[in-house]
Amino acid sequence: MKNVEKGWEPRILAFLCNWCSYAGADLTGISRIQYPPNVRIVRVPCSGRVNPYYIIKALQCGWDGVLVSGCHPGDCHYISGNLVARRRFAVLKDLLEYVGIEPARVNFSWVSAAEGGKFASVVTEVVNEVKALGPAKRLVKVRIEWKNLKNR
């Protein structure tokens, strides 16, 4: 880890689809599976609802990493929301990497309502990878502070 202030913890913003991944995250909690507390969750109706702007804006606001998670292909509540989103995310991810954003900051996963364990392992993986990168700098305009988030 380079030039990181002591005690720095990455901040990850997660967009979880209501029908699968959000329920999956819930199950993680109910099943008392441990995962790093570095994630803040935004519930969205479907992964297809996640406009690439949200992801880019999150990076601009200083989130150290972003995770978008939806239902597995075939399981989307809206049939193909996640399949259209998959193309959008692929292009976004490739392009962000091309301009020099570290690939590990932008993450996607499929997590079903039954996969509490998978949610925990995805989050752990993301947090560890982002930790290894250090705090986000590229594209950051305003750095969010945990304490300000808590006040809201």
Binding site: P73, V91, L95, V99, I101, N107, L139
Partner: protein
């Protein structure tokens, strides 16, 4: 060239007099050397204004969207492909446009000619076959046209309009062998940090005039995201983060639609090579979805579509 111009004028005159179109959109001589300008002809006697040569660089597809009248448009390969995209995206009714295709051997990049001449000002220029004759105070030069073509033209694989209603002159040979992604591959080979610095450096010049958007035939949105104020998605100052995001998002918006006409790079008053971004987008879409834009009037843009077997190696 003269033969082509003659036949172009005949076609235009015929279309107008037979009332197949109300308006012809083409090129006429501009007020500066190597400069042509878009020309709108609605009277048969004005067809004599129409010209065609390698300085006809403006992308006339821009003028096709949002028109009430029936138009005939002079279109190079890239222009015709963009009209096709606009038709496929239901922005233009097919029956309202007649594509007057012109096989194209590439257009001259004025910036390249100017930088070759450094301080000297070009006062007169003519394109004669493979040569550009430039004249100024106390100098006269004959330049090889091919050394001064736009970057996009150097790798263009559709010099003949793949879609047209009437073709002016004969088809020209296509460049089938060129690698259109060399620049992108060179950038890909760099370290992430190097690339970041490169794009930072380039885009820090941007003055946020949005001309690159205004010139793009695909940027027909009634309200562009940069103009949105409820909410204001991204800042409007020339802060580097906002500027980078403007370009990233615009590139995303033309994914699977951009045909590398080069208009955005040509228009940029501070010489930012936007092609580095646009070509990458084109490459991503080609590699992932095997799609090339502007070759059909029906095919939906790939980012509005999906296949169940689309690659998803990046998904955890």
């Amino acid at each position: 060239m003269e033969k082509l111009e003659k036949s172009l004028r005949e076609i235009a005159e015929k279309l107008l007099s037979e009332k197949k179109v109300d308006l012809i959109i083409g090129y006429e001589r501009g007020t500066r050397p190597l400069r042509t300008t878009p020309c709108f002809v609605n009277k048969t006697e004005d067809v004599q204004k129409l010209i065609w040569d390698s300085s006809c660089d403006n992308n006339l597809a821009k003028y096709v969207v949002d028109r009430k009248e029936k138009v005939g448009v002079v279109a190079k390969g890239c222009d015709a492909r963009l009209i096709a995209v606009c038709i496929a995206e239901n922005q233009v009714p097919k029956e309202n446009v007649i594509i007057i295709g012109v096989p194209c051997l590439g257009v001259v990049d004025r910036k390249k000619v100017e930088s070759k001449l450094e301080e000297k000002e070009i006062l007169e220029a003519t394109i004669e076959g493979e040569k550009i004759k430039v004249k100024g105070e106390e100098f006269e030069l004959l330049l090889a046209k091919n050394d001064f073509l736009c970057d996009s033209c150097l790798t263009c694989k559709h010099r003949n309009p793949p879609i047209q209603d009437v073709l002016v002159g004969e088809e020209v040979p296509e460049l089938t062998e060129v690698n259109e992604f060399t620049e992108v591959e060179n950038l890909e080979a760099m370290a992430a940090e190097e690339r970041w610095n490169h794009f930072n450096g380039e885009l820090s010049k941007c003055i946020r005039c949005y001309a690159c958007r205004s010139v793009c035939p695909l940027c027909y949105c009634k309200t562009c995201f940069v103009d949105q104020s409820i909410p204001t998605w991204f800042g409007k100052t020339n802060d580097l983060s906002d500027t980078m995001i403007y370009h990233i998002v615009r590139a995303l918006h033309v994914a699977g639609r951009c045909v590398d006409c080069g208009a955005c790079s040509r228009v940029c008053p501070v010489n930012i090579n936007l092609r580095e971004l646009m070509k990458k987008i084109e490459k991503i879409v080609k590699e992932r979805y095997n799609f090339k834009a502007g070759l059909s009037l029906e095919e939906a843009p790939p980012l509005g579509d999906f296949k169940s077997e689309d690659p998803q190696e990046f998904i955890k």
